[in-house]
Every structure is written in structure tokens, then in C-alpha cells.
Amino acid sequence: MSSTARELIPEESREPEGAPVHRVKSGRVRRLSGRDKMVLALMVGIPTLIELTLVWLPMLMSVGLSFTRWNGLDLGDIRPAGVANYQYISQDYPPFWPAVQHNMLWLLFLALIATPLGLLLAVLLDQNIRGSKIYQSIFFAPVMLSLALIGIIWQLFYQRDNGLLNFLLGTAGTPQAVDWFGDSSVNIWAAMIAATWRHAGYVMLLYLAGLKGVDPTLKEAAAIDGANAVQTFFRVVFPAMRPINIVIVVITIIESLRAFDVVYVINRGTNGLEMLSALVIQNLVGEGQVIGVGSALAVVLLVISLVPIVFYLSRTFGKENKA
């Protein structure tokens, strides 16, 4: 095959030549015009710069600040504090450990209840039932609602004296009425149900997309082989959605770590609703700002979040390298 003829074949279909790959690569780079190079440099450079200034720089500064004491006023007031801030949050700060526990509980709840619920909804809505689009919109609506609206909606539902739930239980207005938001033994569950309401819709949408992407011939083949619907789903369809599954696992973990909005609208993450993210906000934003402590909490959250991120990246790129 002459080199000219080779150029005519699409790159991905070319047979590997005896020549080393990098020669082909370097040959192509040389063919880039000055203009191409500039476009490339801009396309790579700008996102890198944004990533550096808006992500890496603040992150490293935050890590740095977590080892200092600072009142946030004058840069000269920054004083080194060693690990004092970490010692403080782990030993002296009462909301810290409950927050860690609540984040774990949140993760378990989303993973065992909310995510499977979203999957179930997706499977049901994938059956071409009548009004499927309407149901999809309804279940997805919570994901798009603003924080304030969510607060109002759940307030109506959970209120002690005239909330819907106590009304249905017949306890509204009586001393037995459950204070769903105020009673610290139940409010975490109330909040997790509100979170499920959002999370399930989100998971549903992703799985719907995933289900549409599964090759129907796989299902047919399974049916011909005599698999029933359940077997088809769990043995064929579900494994075929592996990329989506990984995304969902990561999203579920991340959602449980960044769980914030629902508890914040209820009572700003106090009294039984302590969450790491709410503590970070409490300590970093606003009048109660303690930059060192807040940064230390943010770093703890960062380190915990790195675990699923690293898992995800290694799965994604590990697979690409093998391919």
C-alpha cells in the first residue's frame, strides 16, 4: 500500500504498519498549521488555566489554611497552627462525629433505597406504558426545583400541627403529633426521604437513558435462550449497562457526601441533622467564620470524596488503557 493510498483510509481502520506508531504521530503534528496550533493551545490552555485558578489553587490554599489560624481580615494575621484545627474538630467539636455518621447513614439510605427505587422507576417507565413521558417529567421535577420550593413543599408535608403527614396519621394538633423536623430522633429520616424524592428522579433519568442504549437484540437473544423477564434484566440488561452503573455508584456516593440543601432548608444542619457539608458552610461562610476550622472540615470532606473519585477514574481510564 502506497503512503498516499493509506491516507485515504480512515485512520481507525488502518492496519498497523511495521513502522513505529510514534513516527506516524510526529508526522501528523508537523502537518499542523500555525493557526491549528494556536487553536489547540487555546482549547487546552484556557480550560487548564480555569481549572488551575478555580479548582487547584483554592483547593491547595484551603489545605494550607487548614493548618493555620486566621481571622479573615489581614493576611498578616495568618498564624501557623499545626494540626490544631484537626484536633479541634475530632476532639472538641461535638457536631463533627454525628455529621460523619449522618453522611454514612445518608450514603446507605441512598444506595439501598433511593437508587434501587430510581432503577425500578426507570424499568417501569421503559415499558412503553401510556403517559410514560408525563410520569418521567413528574418524577424528574424534584431534581429541578429550587431549594426554597423544596423547603416549602416538605414543610407542608411534615409540619407538626397542620402538616399532611400528621393529619393522615390522625395526630395533627394533639400532643402525640410527631415533630418530624424538630425531633432529633426522627428528623434525619424525614430529611432522607426528602432527599430520596430528588435522588430517585435523577437516577431514573440516567437509567432510562441507559436502558434505551441497550441493544434490543441482546434481550431477544436472551428470550430465545429461554430466560424469563427477571433473568433477562439481571443477567443481561443490567450488566450491559455497566458504564451507567458506575456513573450511578459515583453519583450516589457524591450525593451523600455533598448532602446539604435538604438539611439546610430544614434547620441549617443542626439538632440531629448535622452533615459535613453543612458544617463546612457554617464554619466558612457568614459571621461564624473560623477559616482554619472550616478549611480543616473541607479537607476532611475532600479526602473522603477522593476515594470514590479515584475509584471512578481508575475504572474509567484503566479500561481505556486495556482497550
Binding site: 479541634y88 424538630g182 434547620n267 457554617q282 459571621e287 467564620q289 470532606l301
Partner: protein, 436 residues
């Protein structure tokens, strides 16, 4: 897959939180000068000794106080011919961004509170002292107000506009019907509460979903047991939390706890105000702003007020009455017109202009018009006027981080089980105050 990765990456949580760390400060620093620049006139006006106008930063963003301050600035302009450019910022934002606001280019004068938080900024050199202003307005104020306006260096920094007392509110008709009498001592309060409980009423209305209202009970218990000065020193962390005096406050409070509304943690102060209106609770300890909730004039006329009963020390000399007023920023210190405006606010003329629009507070200057006072206003005003010491409420007298990050969760857990770990309070206080 790559696209999916980006999507999930964008949701990555701690990056957001980390961004907030720096972002909030940076955005605040960058945003506020810009806002100030938009108003114009602030730059050049700062240099001349006699400038044509001033800028005024206001955190009083609710409709009524906003119009009330508008009335004051209009009166000032009418009197002196100097223009006041007002920048109104929603009050939560105003408070949350005060650090970057004061370091950026603040307005010449701005609304703030007396107390530790004022003293803190004075100490950091972000405020201009106004002793000259106080020479002209000093006679308009009581000693307690003067003390509350003084910085840590003994110079004057603050001009009080209005304040509002904390105390017990009750429905006079209910009390008359049941034959309850205003308790003078803590024992009488407990006896009265027990009687109310027997009558099937929740004796003391209580709401702490927002976390801060319970600080009012703590402050009064502390001041009545240990005195005003101890309250100030404890808030400034000159006294340790880990001592018998503090434990005594919680022990005494624990005696009252069974009489306070057990649903406190699930309701806001507005809910508790409604319960008082509906005569479900016998009395309610809150600031006089609670009366804003009683929109029915008949109910409002039926509301009585009494000061927190005496316990062990100083009788009822101290009253909790947070003062709102004006401060002069460091930059505004060079603007003569801004000083004139502060002096104007310290007169009965200006405070009458304010009170004509916003009547829910008590003007602080002497000689203000009291002809429109309701009996309730009058009781509140007398309580403040007779006080030897005026405290500013825990979250104004103490480091905000101590109030918001430590006391709110601590008091909420105390309300649940009646127990307080003062050692832990001290450990937290040590770290937080050391960071300042």
C-alpha cells in the same frame, strides 16, 4: 463515557466547598468596591473636609426599617443640603460579608450593632472614632448607652438609634382571668409556672429551631446569677466557661426547663408567638420585636411585658436590649458630612423621623416624642431607661463563631437532655478565640 465523567466531575462536592472558602472572600472583596463605586461620589467625597455628601450602607433591608432610614436621610438632606447616597444590602448578606465590606471600600457610615462585634472592628482599626460627634450628642444619651457605644480603647465609635428590650410577654386577659400575678423573683416564676402547668397551659413559650432565641434565656440566667460584668467577660472569653458559675447557670435553667415548651426545637419564634396569641402558652421570653407578629390590634393591646425576675445578683439592673445604630468606617472618618450625619442621628429630631415610620422599637435619644407610645411601648421604654446595664444579646456580645458554631448546638442539646458539658464549651472557646 468521557462526557459523563465531566458531568459527574462538575458535581464534585468538596471542590465547591473549597471554592466557597476562597470564593466568598474573593467575591466579597471584589463585589463590594464595585457596588460602592456604582454609587458614585464616595471617592472624591472622602478627601475634602467639607464634602457635598456622604454614602450610607444600610443592612436594614426590610420594608419598614428601610423606609424609616429613608425618612432620616431625607430629613438630614432637608436640614443641611447634603446628599446621602444609601446602599441597601439584604441584612443577612450585610452581616455575613461585613469582614470583606470593611476591608474593601465601605460606605462612609453604615448600620451596625453595639457590643463585642463593634469593639472587635474598632480594635482592628477598621472604624473611625467619633469622640467629637459625642461631644455634641453626649447629653442625649444615658450612661448605659454611652458605655455600650465605647470602644475597647475608651474612644467613642457608635451612635445608637433604637433598641428593643428582651423580657416576658403575656396576654393580660388570660392572666386576669386565671388570677396570675407578675413574678418578681425566680421562685415566684417557678411557682407561677407550676400553677399554669396545673391549669393545662404550657407555662413558658419557647422556640429554638433557629438556634439563637435560647441565648436570651441563657443571658438572663447568667446575668441574674453572676451579674452583668460576668456576662460581658464571659462573652469576651476573659472568664473561663469551665467554672462553677457557668455550671450554676445551666443547673438553674434546668429547673425552668420542664416549664418551657417541649416542642421548642421544631418551631420558630413566629410559631411560638402564635401560640402565645392563641393562649396556648402563658408567657414568652423574647425581644419586643415579637409584637410584630400580633397583627390584630385587639391582641396587641392585650399584650403585657415584665422584666426577667431577679435571682441572686443585682436585682433587675441589667436588661438585654440590643442596640442598633451607626458606625463610621475608617474611610468615612475623613468625611465631615458623614460625621454630621452621625451627629444628626444622635438627636431626637432624627430618631423621631425614624420612629414615625418604624414604631416597633424604642428610640434611644432623650427627648424623643413619646406621645404615640402604647402602654406596652412605655413599659418597654421604662425598663430600658431604668436599667443600669444594657447587654447586647449573646450573639452580639460574644465572638460570632462562639455564638453560631458552639452555643447553638450546645443549647439545642441542653434543651433536649438538660445537660451541659462546660469543659467542652471551654475547649471550643479556647480554639475559636485564639483564632481571632
Amino acid at each position: 463515557m468521557a462526557a459523563k465523567f465531566d458531568a459527574s466531575e462538575a458535581r464534585y462536592p468538596s471542590r465547591r466547598s473549597v471554592l466557597k472558602t476562597v470564593g466568598v472572600g474573593a467575591a466579597g472583596l471584589a463585589g463590594i468596591p464595585f457596588l460602592a463605586a456604582c454609587t458614585g461620589g464616595s471617592g472624591p467625597s472622602a478627601t475634602g473636609s467639607d464634602s457635598p455628601g456622604l454614602t450610607f450602607g444600610s443592612g436594614s433591608s426590610d420594608d419598614v426599617p428601610k423606609r424609616a432610614y429613608q425618612a432620616v436621610t431625607d430629613a438630614f438632606t432637608a436640614k443641611t443640603g447634603k446628599k446621602v447616597t444609601t446602599n441597601v444590602v439584604p441584612h443577612n448578606d450585610f452581616q455575613n460579608k461585613i469582614n470583606s465590606y470593611l476591608q474593601g471600600s465601605p460606605d462612609d457610615t453604615f448600620t451596625w450593632f453595639a457590643g463585642y462585634r463593634m469593639q472587635y472592628y474598632a480594635e482592628k482599626g477598621l472604624l473611625a472614632p467619633i469622640d467629637d460627634v459625642w461631644e455634641s450628642i453626649g447629653d442625649n444619651y444615658s450612661d448605659a448607652l454611652k458605655k455600650a457605644s465605647t470602644g475597647p480603647d475608651g474612644k467613642m465609635y457608635f451612635v445608637p438609634n433604637y433598641n428593643y428590650p428582651w423580657g416576658f410577654f403575656y396576654r393580660k386577659s388570660l392572666w386576669a382571668e386565671k388570677g396570675y400575678e407578675v413574678p418578681e423573683t425566680f421562685d415566684a416564676l417557678k411557682a407561677l409556672a407550676a400553677k399554669m402547668k396545673a391549669d393545662g397551659i404550657i407555662p413558658i413559650g419557647f422556640a429554638d429551631k433557629d438556634g439563637w432565641p435560647a441565648m436570651g434565656t441563657f443571658d438572663y440566667m447568667n446575668m441574674r446569677l453572676n451579674g452583668y460584668q460576668f456576662h460581658v467577660d464571659l462573652c469576651a472569653h476573659k472568664e473561663s466557661w469551665d467554672q462553677q458559675k457557668v455550671s450554676a447557670v445551666f443547673d438553674t435553667w434546668a429547673e425552668l426547663l420542664p416549664f418551657q415548651d417541649p416542642a421548642a426545637l421544631g418551631q420558630t419564634w413566629q410559631d411560638a408567638a402564635k401560640a402565645l396569641e392563641a393562649k396556648k402558652t402563658g408567657m414568652y421570653l423574647l425581644g419586643s420585636f415579637v409584637t410584630q407578629q400580633f397583627t390584630d390590634p385587639a391582641v396587641l393591646a392585650d399584650i403585657g411585658f415584665f422584666a426577667f425576675p431577679e435571682i441572686a445578683m443585682e436585682g433587675r439592673d441589667a436588661v438585654e436590649a440590643p442596640i442598633d445604630g451607626l458606625l463610621l468606617s475608617k474611610k468615612g472618618g475623613e468625611n465631615k458630612a458623614a460625621r454630621d450625619f452621625m451627629a444628626f442621628l444622635g438627636t431626637s429630631e432624627a430618631q423621631d423621623a425614624y420612629a414615625a415610620v418604624d414604631a416597633s422599637n424604642i428610640a434611644t435619644a432623650k427627648g424623643t416624642d413619646t406621645s404615640k407610645f402604647t402602654p406596652l411601648n412605655k413599659t418597654c421604654a421604662d425598663t430600658i431607661a431604668n436599667a443600669k446595664n444594657i447587654s447586647q444579646f449573646f450573639d452580639r456580645d460574644a465572638l460570632p463563631a462562639m455564638a453560631n458554631n458552639v452555643m447553638i448546638p450546645a443549647l439545642q442539646s441542653f434543651i433536649k437532655d438538660g445537660k451541659m458539658d462546660v469543659k467542652n464549651l471551654e475547649a471550643q472557646a479556647k480554639t475559636l478565640y485564639a483564632a481571632q
